[in-house]
Symmetry: C2
Subunit: 346 residues, 2 copies
């Protein structure tokens, strides 16, 4: 009989509320014969304040035993900027080699977009997750003096680029439009940019059916708001991916519905699934958070574990729920979760 | 009697066409007693192909003699990516210490925006122009092998940050709303990010009337499309500034109307003014390019040289011209220039 052994990290702020709904939908959608085991972990601001720890080696050892990880949100104003981000989120992505950071953007019917004319938006960003300017490499000298100098070093390897580029080509190949865009800034960041571009072109030879284009990151932000229908699959570096996926979320219904997967395709470590939004401390505990992004992250999680039918069922449910919202009074986090649970079970 | 000694660099593609209109408007707007001298320089793809040169020490020596520089656009597909960008554009910005890269965004009446609901957009981005990941620092080893590694180093100094931050505060202080946002990514790029944040807070003590906020660059892209009216002045790093100013241009009428100044406020070197758009080789020579961005860059140039009345006259003319376009057939580059020349002279 089948089973899923899931690590659950509700985290901070609205993380608690949205993860509860994610689990509700997961239980509702899974076939009877699949045994779901969950173990909750208390990472985030509370643990940090209580123990000073963000993510220890022992924690990683424990997390490693699971099939996948569901995360709500990490981050709180009471913790200095960077501590939980670097000490937990990025540490986990790096430790478990989550090199495919997958962020689909689809403007669903009835969902509001800040763009005029309700454009067709249906693309996925494959963001590199373990290299670039995210490695923490750099430092500061003469801190606090007028002579301070700070550096940030972006590290890029052929190994790291090639595997994520190949993953993106394969995803493009599997989609009807078969289009792949590389987003970088190879006219300025020439060292990393040329490495990315060369590998992108080389790997492309293995995928003759995929149509490719190259686009500078600044130009990409223009096209995302003027011609979003142009995009099918985008592959990009860790930092550019961070920036353009927030913009992509904004144009396709907002971060309330933006899901993401931090994927290790080899399966050597569990992959982690999380909404793109943060912990939103300003609305935490009020039942105002939209759990859709987390629920859609659960769909990505199920797809990753091979439950394609169930993943699609969740996506259809969210899509139908969003379409029904138009003109209706706002519901609580819990009410939305309940409605989705009914839909996926039905 | 007053005089302006201007270096003119039409450059590549549509650069030629739009600069011609910029000069037309400059001549038309200047009072009789101002003597305008211009000297044209042939930098860009042609010169590079003919001589292999992009910008020599002798060129810089000559350019230095001018009061200001007007640039069309540099770049051509026949030149490998990065050669003209690094070898000319960035070399000039760095050599002349253009640390204030000024990019105003204003959605003028009648101008189309991809955003729904015609929001109020009127802000200016002060982009640092001489540091960050733009210094060219970095390298590649084992090029062309599976073991290649490429780095990019972002260099940030207290000196460089403080001067641009102070400039941005002064600009915010001089505007009615007196708001300043720092855009960075200090939760991930902690070394540079904390240096920027610390200096931003410190300098802020000198400007008690200015309201400040900090925003991550990814979040900034969301707010730019969902709440652009939120912004008044933004100060940011070289790369983040590159990215968000293209997005800012896109939402406020497109790069056809986005002007910029590469300013050295000390006056030690001439400042350079250029449209944000590139050389657009696909439409070059067809009279299709909108010269408005270049004409608005001429307004920034005049303001920098102390001709405030004339700068405002140009801005009003462009605003009126754009408002009149609605529903009319497209005009040529030259026709738009002629119409603007009549307006500013009138
Ligand atoms: C919180 C932060 C470290 C993170 C990132 O920059 O990757 C977030 O913005 C994201 O996109 O998941
Ligand atoms: C052409 C390129 C070097 C330049 C930059 O990145 O600064 C351009 O995008 C700009 O914004 O002026």
């Amino acid at each position: 009989s089948r089973s899923i052994n899931l690590a659950v990290i509700p985290g901070d702020g609205i993380g608690q509320e949205v993860v509860a709904q994610g689990l509700k939908i997961l239980s509702a959608v899974l076939p009877q014969d699949v045994k779901l085991e969950t173990e909750e972990y208390d990472f985030g601001a509370r643990r940090y304040h209580a123990t000073g720890e963000t993510l220890t080696d022992a924690d990683l050892e424990q997390l490693k035993q699971h099939d996948a990880i569901l995360l709500g949100a990490i981050g709180d104003p009471s913790v200095p900027s960077g501590v939980l981000e670097r000490g937990f989120l990025l540490k986990l992505r790096f430790a478990f080699d989550h090199h495919v950071n997958l962020r689909p953007s689809k403007l669903l019917p009835g969902v509001e977009t800040p763009l005029a004319g309700q454009p067709e938006i249906d693309f996925v960003v494959v963001r590199e997750g373990t290299e670039g300017p995210y490695t923490g490499n750099g430092g500061t000298i003469r801190t606090g003096t007028p002579h301070a100098v700070a550096t940030e070093v972006s590290l890029n390897t052929a190994f790291g680029i090639e595997r994520v580029v190949r993953d993106a080509y394969a995803r493009a190949q599997a989609r009807p439009r078969k289009k792949l865009a590389l987003v970088h800034k190879n006219n300025v960041l020439v060292h990393a940019g040329h490495l990315w571009t060369d590998i992108f072109n080389k790997v492309g030879e293995e995928f003759p059916e995929v149509t490719t284009e190259y686009m500078h990151v600044d130009a990409a932000t223009i096209y995302l708001v003027t011609q979003p229908e142009r995009f099918d699959v985008i592959v990009t570096d860790n930092l550019f991916g961070d920036i353009i996926t927030d913009l992509a979320a904004a144009i396709s219904g907002g971060i309330g519905v933006a899901a993401s997967g931090n994927i290790n395709p080899s399966g050597a470590y569990p992959s982690m699934f999380e909404p793109v939004h943060g912990s939103a401390p300003d609305i935490a505990g009020q039942g105002k958070a939209d759990p859709s992004a987390t629920v859609l992250s659960v769909a990505l999680l199920l797809r990753h574990l091979g439950y394609e039918t169930e993943a699609a069922r969740i996506e259809d449910a969210v899509s139908a729920d969003l379409a029904e919202r138009v003109g209706k009074p706002a519901r609580t986090t819990d009410e939305i979760g309940d409605a989705l649970a009914v839909r996926v079970a039905g």
